[in-house]
């Protein structure tokens, strides 16, 4: 297993596939996620990027921050474009027109994955194209200013479902994308978080080497729209894991494995504190929302632990 230093060396200098000069916000974790994932490939990577933060900040003509083949088409179809590229790769190889091996990586935010890109993703997983789908999950449409997505957590205030005098924010819990992906009976699905470089790297390695489609969901706190000090991105990512709000686990060939178990689960307030999107929950009339959220998190964790212990295949 490589050390952090080994991984860091793969993300810098001439080895860097995503280089400096891009326009992402100070404190954004997205480039960190991409560097961690791209470092895990031992082959050239073809990147297909859904419209979103990563895309609009890294390829503004006539500039590009990509030192690896990269393509953007539209918002909801990164998985379908990846499917076409994989088919082309197979066909051109079969016909002797190209040589060499590549990995294919489709990347989207949670909007382009949980919501508008969901159908294309499901179709590509079901057809079993050999590619990895990476979602950098910042729990809403952050590129356009914090609108609600299917990944936005219960109780969060967004610009399309704001907290108000009679509303405590989003009334629904989020989808479980990892389990939905696993239900396609694909060889590898992982859930990770940006602060844990080794965890992201290891899961990306497994995803790239899977003999079929892989999905990797990485939590990426948004300094701009969750609205916290830009120095604290990694801290919020760590708190999401330490509170069991975002467990680190994987489903490999259908078998659940929790890759990090907090010894003392921290209360969810520790994660909520300091984020503007949850500020309203600390008003007395919304205390019940936090209680409910804690119950949901604990229930989901219990279920996940039982799933792992059962050894039952997805």
């Amino acid at each position: 297993m490589p050390t952090l230093q080994d991984i860091a060396l793969k993300t810098s200098g001439s080895a860097a596939k995503l280089v400096s000069g891009h326009r992402m916000c100070a404190g954004c974790g997205i480039p960190v996620v991409l560097k961690e994932v791209l470092a895990a490939s031992d082959k050239p990577v073809i990147v297909i990027n859904a419209t979103g933060c990563l895309e609009v900040t890294t390829a503004v003509y006539p500039y590009t921050a990509w030192n690896t083949p990269w393509m953007h088409l539209t918002f909801e179809n990164a998985a379908a474009v990846a499917a076409g590229i994989e088919a082309a790769y197979k066909s051109l190889k079969h016909r002797g027109k190209i040589n060499g091996e590549v990995n294919i990586l489709a990347v989207g935010g949670d909007g382009g994955t949980y919501d508008i890109g969901f159908q294309a993703l499901s179709g590509a997983l079901e057809r079993y194209h050999r590619f990895m789908y990476l979602v950098y999950d910042n729990e809403g449409y952050m590129n356009t200013g914090n609108q609600r997505s299917g990944a936005t957590p219960f109780g969060a205030s967004t610009s399309t479902v704001p907290a108000g005098k009679v509303s405590p924010g989003k009334p629904q819990w989020r989808k479980n994308l990892v389990e939905i992906a696993a239900a396609h009976r694909i060889p590898y699905v992982g859930q990770s978080a940006v602060h844990n470089t080794l965890d992201v790297f290891k899961k990306a390695q497994k995803g790239f080497s899977a003999d079929g489609p892989a999905v990797l969901a990485v939590l990426q706190p948004c300094t701009t729209n969750w609205s916290f000090d830009s120095a604290l991105t990694m801290q919020y990512s760590r708190l999401a894991v330490e509170t069991n709000f975002w467990p680190l686990y994987e489903i490999e060939n259908g078998i659940v494995h929790i890759t990090s178990k907090p010894t003392n689960r921290k209360p969810i307030e520790d994660f909520l504190k300091g984020q503007t999107r949850f500020k309203h929950l600390f008003r007395p009339e919304n205390q019940h929302v936090i209680v409910e959220m804690q119950e949901m998190i604990d229930d989901e964790w219990d279920r996940l632990v039982k799933l792992e212990a059962s050894g039952v295949r997805f």
Binding site: P44, I46, V81, G84, A88, K97, I98, A120
Partner: protein, 389 residues
């Protein structure tokens, strides 16, 4: 000389695709395009072609994956109709800007609502502003040859734009006709192999494809697209001449039928041109001087050449199989525009016919000719053929 086969327009499209043997085909079935996909899938299943075929979950993904495959350097094809075209509209619109030479047969069917699976041109006329080359086909033979022609026009270095090859739903796609299929080897030598010079899979030459272009650059990209569209006329002629050496057929921008001395003419696309030819012959048999102009290359539109063909005709009826609600119908708009440059302009009349697959009879076309010959036309009011009430 080729082999004559009794096949439908849909099968003719599939025959062209069999000979092209694309690297990748991506499609989603939709009536009346389905037999193209089914026939091609059978070729794949029997090993007659070695194409990678992806049966996707929607037309949006069909065009998305086709674009991905083409960006990767493959020769990739899809096919659709109507609602399918509507669902893939977003990606259809993006394709010319990415300069990807995708060739897609389009089996023309009306757009809902009301739901209807039959022919009209409301699907294609909704996408003629997007930058695809548009070629129309009267019958199955033309479908077959136009698809072969389209591959070479699209992929020419001076063009690098996508092409739709249109045929009428059911009327052409499902009717069996004799179609002459030319020698596989000759056709394959004609279509050649797509160049990999812009391939995303070329990891030695790393490319960024589909970058965002802001107000400082987008306009120039679009202007370059328009320049390429302007180059189509020359390339279409050159490629057509080359294809002629295999087929013996000519590939004009449009076909004229008994037009030279005509006192009245009809302009109409696709299969109805066949019906109109029967009407022209009947009228000519009665001593009436009438003729037909059938546009084939509709985008880019050959204004100058159409003007030269129509300038001496006193009365012209333009038959549209779709409407542009609240405005002039699409083909009528082009012909009016064609005639603007003339000092003395022919009289024109717009007719709408055949929506949702309503038949047009040769006797109805004859009635149009009779009306045109009376000269009692109103260029400001659209008339209807075969409409109740």
């Amino acid at each position: 000389m080729g082999i004559r086969k009794a096949i439908t327009g849909a099968q003719a499209a599939a025959e062209a695709m069999r000979q092209i043997n694309p690297d990748v085909v991506v499609a989603y079935p939709i009536t009346p395009q389905t037999p193209i996909v089914e026939q091609f899938a059978a070729y794949v299943a029997d090993g007659i072609v070695d194409t990678e075929m992806i049966p996707v979950e929607s037309e949006h993904s069909a065009m998305s994956a086709t674009v991905g495959a083409e960006a990767a350097g493959a020769r990739a094809m899809s096919a659709t109709s109507s609602q399918g075209l509507a669902l893939m509209w977003e990606i259809v619109a993006a394709t010319p800007g990415l300069r990807l030479p995708i060739v897609m047969p389009l089996v023309n069917r009306t757009i809902s609502a009301p739901l209807n699976i039959h022919c009209d041109h409301s699907d294609v006329m909704g996408v003629t502003t997007l930058g695809w080359i548009q070629i129309f086909s009267e019958n199955a033979q033309e479908v077959y040859e136009n698809i072969l022609l389209a591959i070479r026009v699209a992929e020419d270095r001076r063009i690098q734009l996508p092409v739709m090859v249109n045929q009428d739903g059911f009327i052409t796609s499902h009717a069996v006709e004799p179609v002459e299929i030319f020698d596989d080897a000759a056709v394959q030598s004609f279509v050649g192999i797509r160049s990999l010079e812009r391939s995303l899979l070329d990891t030695e030459h790393v490319r960024t494809i589909g970058a965002m272009a802001l107000p400082d650059y987008l306009f120039e990209a679009k202007r370059a697209q328009e320049e390429a569209m302007g180059n189509v006329f020359q390339v279409y002629k050159e490629v057509g001449r080359e294809l002629s050496s295999i087929t013996g057929h000519a590939y004009p921008y449009f076909e004229t039928y008994r037009l030279d001395d005509a006192e009245a003419a009809i302009v109409v696309l696709n299969s109805a041109a066949g019906t109109a030819k029967v009407a022209v012959d009947a009228m000519r048999g009665r001593g009436k001087k009438v003729g037909l102009l059938k546009p084939i290359l509709f985008r880019p539109f050959p204004y100058e050449e159409v003007r030269a063909a129509l300038e001496n005709i006193p009365a012209i009826g333009i038959l549209d199989r779709s409407m542009s609600f609240g405005a002039c119908a699409p083909v009528y708009t082009e012909i009016r525009s064609v005639l603007y440059e003339l000092d003395t302009r022919p009289k024109v009349q717009s007719y709408v016919f055949g929506l949702g697959g309503r038949d047009i009879l040769s006797t109805e076309v004859e009635a149009v000719f009779e009306e045109l010959l009376t000269g009692e036309l109103d260029s400001k009011r659209q008339r209807y053929i075969g409409l109740r009430g």
